[in-house]
Amino acid sequence: GENGTLSREDFQRIPELAINPLGDRIINAFFPEGEDQVNFRGFMRTLAHFRPIEDNEKNKDPTASEPLNSRSNKLLFAFKLYDLDRDNKISRDELLQVLRMMVGVNISDEQLGSIADRTIQEADQNGDNSISFNEFIKVGNLYFVYLET
């Protein structure tokens, strides 16, 4: 782009993102709140979430360097994709939106709604009918079991 920054349409130029169900949200994740430009530093910070975990690297959050730190930052990234209004909770509507994005048009809204309800029920532990980050972590961790990089 111009003057060393990227704007959204630069990202949209990547064809694969258009056919990625979460493409737009991921693009949005690169841009800090309310801005339309991201400079290289911000770009790298977002990408840095996806690096393998190294113990002596403070990935983004300069808290105590527990080995879990970077992993939770990755999960935080995913969490933020769901949580649009940044209230640190995934409400049923937000989940519904993401589900709708990831699922074909053959599922009706009622079915999708019941799936979302079921998901929240499974993950929700404090009974507030939404998924907080801690609950999200518990679910997300299982995925990593099958990966190794």
């Binding site: 349409e9 990831m102 599922i107 079915q111 499974e122 679910v139 995925y143 190794e148």
Partner: protein, 841 residues
Amino acid sequence: MAALWHSTFFLVMVLLAISRPSLASQAGNDDLQMGTEHRTNKGTVNGTENLITTLPIVTWNWQEIKFPYLVALWILVSWLCKLVFQLNPSLTSVIPESGLLICIGWVLGGIIYWADKVQTFKLQPFIFFFYLLPQIVLDAGYSMPNKLFFSNFGSILVYAVIGTCWNAATLGLALWGCCLGGAIGDIDIGLLQLLLFGSLIAAVDPVAVIAVFEEVHVNEVLYILVFGESLLNDGVTVVLFNVFNAFVSLGGAQINAVEIIKGIISFFVVALGGSLVGVIFALLISLLTRCTKNIQIIEPGFIFILGYLSYLTAEMLSLSAILSCTFCGVCCQKYINANMDKRSVSTLRYVMKVFANGSETIIFVFLGITAIDPSIWVWNTAFILLTLLFIFVFRFIGVFFLTWILNQYRLVPLEFIDQLMMGYGGLRGAVAYGLVVLLDENKYKEKNLMISTTLLVVYFTVMLQGITMKPLVTWLKVKRAAVTERTLAEIIQNRTFDHILVAIEDISGQIGHNYMRDKWNNFEERWLYWLLMTPSARKSCDHIFNIFHKLNLKDAMSYVKEGERRGSLAFVRNETKADVDFNKKFSGNFSAMMPYIMAENMGSDHVPVSSILWDSVHSVCLDMHEKDLKMRESEDFNAHHLLEQHLYRGKKQHRHRYSREYLEVNKDKNEVQEIFQRTMRSRLESFKSAKMGVNPPKKISYHLKKDQPQKMPNGKSTDNRKSHAYGKEDLEFSEGDSASGCEAAGGSFPMRAHRGAGIVNPAFNAEMDPMPAMQQILPWLAEAEVDSSAVVPSQRAQLTLPCTPSNLHRLAPLHLTTHSFLLADSPATQDTSEPPPPPVV
């Protein structure tokens, strides 16, 4: 218990019967072993036969059939042992089966020894390595969970290679140090021999690991690490054994750098060569199963023979036979499972399990029997105790150290508890014994000492560690294997992560794990599927279809079962009125709920009844609140299946689902289309909402939802209905409909968005600003198979419209693409003036 005693008594009798005739033939035979065949007595028998004076009605033909008879009898006896202690289930829950088999082996060995005064039956290395071990390894390879195996492959290799070398070296050196220090006493053993001993004791044994871990059910990662290590370390063990054996023959003086370098090279050759042989045989098997459509009866036989041949071929070339057999099984399983008939696959699986289990049983029984032989026992307390101690200590040190290194690179670090279990799970077994018996007595003066120590180590690890493994697992709260189906949240999560990872990889252009997997999948589906799988198998590779098919089958079976239970299948005709109670345990409580569940599920979405059937195998609790749980579970499973069918695959899965069937190609394209449409739609939405700043997004989505059932072609008519001030937009939409390159998808989005958004005229002017951005988009569009007419408008627009960066910034960016895309779709006939004419269909 009475049955237990009866069967034991029977066994004893059988054994005495065996040993009696064997005693009789002692004179002619040095050692009556299963692998040897002696016909020296036959001559004398024949000689005596010539002296018969009358026709014998029945003759005693022991000599002719002795060998096969003994073989068969021993197999029978070993397998009967399994039966013996199954009669007492409490015993098996404490002591692992392998331990019990060894104990029975002791008993049997004792009986034989008492009868013969010499141990006539031993575990011969030749028999062990060529007749008993291959099927176990082949079964291990064939039933290996490939995905788990290969995703942890790096860790497994590290443990297998580096860990085994570490164990061998430290054990040998430590023993040598103790020997020098005089702790062991006066034995004629040198450093090289101790290193050899270390190398054969160090290897974790696959047979023992299978036997013990299978009963404990630890979590999959832990299991695959230990099990994979036990299989792959054979490469190292063979090399070390041969190298040190050769060094001992050469003598210590001859060892220089050249020899050591040759040793290192031989490791690579042996390990990689063995794996290569396995892979080649896997290819052969897959190709063969591709052609055996008409001889399905004998299809499974080919697998066994070729698997066995892979083992023998590697052995012949002095490569690692276990590695060869393992990789043969691992690589061919996918293709032969797809190619062969279902019945052949079942046959293959079951027969392999029979052979593997049977061999394992025989091995352990004989391990017990061979111990009862005083001629091999050399009791050196210090040596034995030191060996045991060092094995433990060095294993734990090795595991912790390697895990610490690996945790820097793993995505999911191994916890301390898991590491502890890994260290503790390093069981030694029959392979070590087989190797030690192969040693040459002349070169190894202390062979008997080594044999005894090996046997003791094996007994110790199998019995003691086997017994304490289960309590330790529960006490340490090791994570057990997940028996529950993955929750909905996890499924969604997995998909989300997949999408995210793929997107990030695209953005950063980086080659990551997923990229590699993607590349392999592409290669596989492009070349390997074509080469190795029958055409029909290729078609049925689709995941969704398979699940659908399985669910339908389950439905059908549950229907029939239920129908039989009620006497007839009449109820099937009234689907909605389903008063069917699939849950036999809850007949009263559930019959009320069932119709509700059934009716809900019998909708148009093929959600199977099987999910409810699943419930009936769960707990037996009769509490009322359980009802809700059950219902929730059933809905849960419905939702699962729904999701399975409808969740978008990630891009990488798109590609490897390609097949030549039109159906599948279209399906993929549909998915891509849908996602694409939706993306464009949402981009335009936000464009609109950003422009007005008034319209809440919710309104748009609501309208969107309403409109969703209608597909693109309907756009035109509804468009006109609602158009009042939409002006240029409508024109574009209708023309977009007709000219869209991407399957008319483009035209419909903005239309729908607009309808909801209630755009007013002034907004239109601002809309012209984004047009210049279109020219950037077009190359991309061209890739997306838009027809060439798309290119033309861009230049037109370029000429006409002012381009100010500030305008671009002001707008919410997403819609720019949509808009330009739309314009791209409009035919060239549209005039170039700024405010387009009022809507025209």
